[in-house]
Amino acid sequence: MEVLSLLADGFATSLSPLNLMIVLLGVTAGLFIGAMPGLGSVNGVAIVLPLTFIVPPSSAIILLAAIYYGAMYGGAVSSVLLGIPGASTAVATTFDGRPMAQKGEAGLALIAAATASFIGGTVSVVLFTLFAVPLADLALAFGPAEEFALVLLAFTTFVGLGGDDVLKTIIMICLGLVLSTVGLDLISGQPRLIFGDLPGFYAGISFLVLAIGVYGVGEVLHTIETSKSAPQVTPAKLTFSELAAGLKAMNRLWKTMSIGSFLGFFVGMLPAAGATPASLMAYGIARSTSKEPETFGKGNIEGVAAPETANNAASTGSLLPMLTLGIPGSPTTALLLGGMVMWGLMPGPMLFIEQPDFVWGLISSLYTANFAAVAINLALIPLFVWALRMPFTVLCALVLILCIVGGFAPSQKMHDVWLIAAFGFGGYLLRKADYPLAPLVLALVLGPLMEKSFRQTLIAEQGNVFAFVERPLSATFICIALLFFILPLLKHLRKVLRKDVSAPAE
């Protein structure tokens, strides 16, 4: 097969001693950058991009792939250990990863995250190897209407996430959506909700700011409160038998992980969608197809594996539109695209034909980087777990410092640091009053995509609301979305009906 021989050539370059060194270095650096709340692959890639001009392009792309993968793995580390998602792609990982850490199973959660990431990454690199070129057309078929339908689908896989209090969940979803509209309205070009005309609000409210606020600062305040009476996090230890048990547990999750991998790859491949909706959908599907959905959110290992497979698969998938269409699906791929232009490569439909060496070198380095990332990550887990054994008063102080610095780093605005403090205090109070925080964060992540694609479609279709169901792809997504919305209602209804039937008998 032609693909295989091309790939073999690619491996020949990516496995040279220099390149192996680069992979190890890149993955380790990426891992730490990703594990830092506020920093993600985009920071890592931005930093090394100018450096890549002093090494040959083939090594440069390997370095970038290694950092990219390392940071993706690292994102899960801060989600599990600190409960702060380092990037929007790792939000879903906190839902069960954090409770697992609180039960003293941080090591297990990290193992699950690492193996799941590895499987997701591997499956999607294989899919990428085989189908990259034909799939580019599918990405093109995605217009605003399809985008909206997909985001709607991502949303509905999450119905009822916050638990039982419907009113409070609705409030949080609305609040998240409203906060997502802050900034410049793309469609009319007018500023909106620029509170007090502060320039900081022109850029809108970043997901990271809200997440670091409610999950970082809010969590610390919560810990201070609860640690007065009893320690909240059981010191985690990690032994070989636990490691074996962890791998065994993963063995049962092949269904979740294969759904996560495929879903992640296909959703990630769509420009503008990317890894965040993919990981949320994978989590939602894992929960709604589970036999015991009530254990999700309380430390179910499946709830860590599902989003982690999906987000890693999606990160690989998102390279596809970048390479085949020249459209970056995320800030990180945008930077990679810039780098390629610098190396004199023209991303787009012709790249696979004109630059096969580069393309296959990149694909083979994805394989290598993925292997290196899982190995290094597993090796470092004991270190991460050990960090959790610090006394609370030390851990909390350091987390607060990380929140401040990590909140400042991406935008370099003190405005965002103030917002983090405000969201932290607000989030703490809301959480105490039993308001669910996950829907708030989700809504802020998905809100901008949803509003933008909704309005784009209506403008393009002269206000025809049925445009969404007239197109086959978007109609399909909307049907599935409705299904997800109705199913829990039906389940609930059946329960209520049963109760009514049984009640008179009592």
Partner: protein, 176 residues
């Protein structure tokens, strides 16, 4: 409803009270958002087709406010909300940390991140956490050094320096 008064004098804020105060806060917040949202068209067909720029924030804020009203009404009918929300002890430590955080962030703009962070760590570890001098000293020295090398030297993300800026010029010359 009768039990409310009995609990109040012990310095305890009840869940019930907190629930109502937060619901009122959300209603106020919604009104604030709506006030800003009406600067842009909130109806259908604001532009060539579809909703106007203010529609999303306006109507969603309205839903938010209505739900909060629902919570308020519900709070008058429920009895289970008599658990404490805050006791005095909790409130004291949470407020202390919150104030320290605000002071630290305010200081960053003037005396720079490094001074502010050192002061925060000193307070948190020594006074709030009651740790020994060895641990406190170690962390207050190690943290800024780590931050400098990780963020500034490696990632090229400069942290705010405020009036301490001139002292960093030799460091820049050495490490960049």
């Amino acid at each position: 409803m009768d039990g409310v008064g009995e609990f109040r004098h012990k310095g305890v804020i009840l869940m019930l009270v907190a629930d109502r105060v937060i619901a009122l806060g959300i209603i106020a917040l919604s009104a604030y958002f709506m006030w800003y949202a009406i600067a842009l068209p909130i109806g259908w067909n604001g532009e060539a087709g579809g909703p106007g720029g203010g529609a999303f924030p306006f109507w969603l804020s309205l839903v938010m406010a209505l739900c909060a009203v629902g919570i308020l009404i519900r709070s008058f009918r429920e009895q289970r909300l008599l658990d404490p929300f805050f006791d005095r002890e909790t409130m004291r430590s949470v407020v202390a940390v919150a104030v320290a955080l605000v002071v630290t962030i305010a200081l960053i703009s003037y005396v720079g991140a490094y001074v502010a962070i050192v002061l925060f760590l000193l307070w948190y570890l020594k006074i709030f956490g009651q740790h020994g001098w060895v641990l406190t000293g170690l962390l207050t020295v190690a943290t800024p050094i780590f931050l400098f090398f990780f963020f500034e030297v490696t990632l090229k993300i400069l942290l705010p320096k405020g009036i301490t800026e001139p002292y960093f010029i030799p460091l820049y010359a050495a490490f960049f």
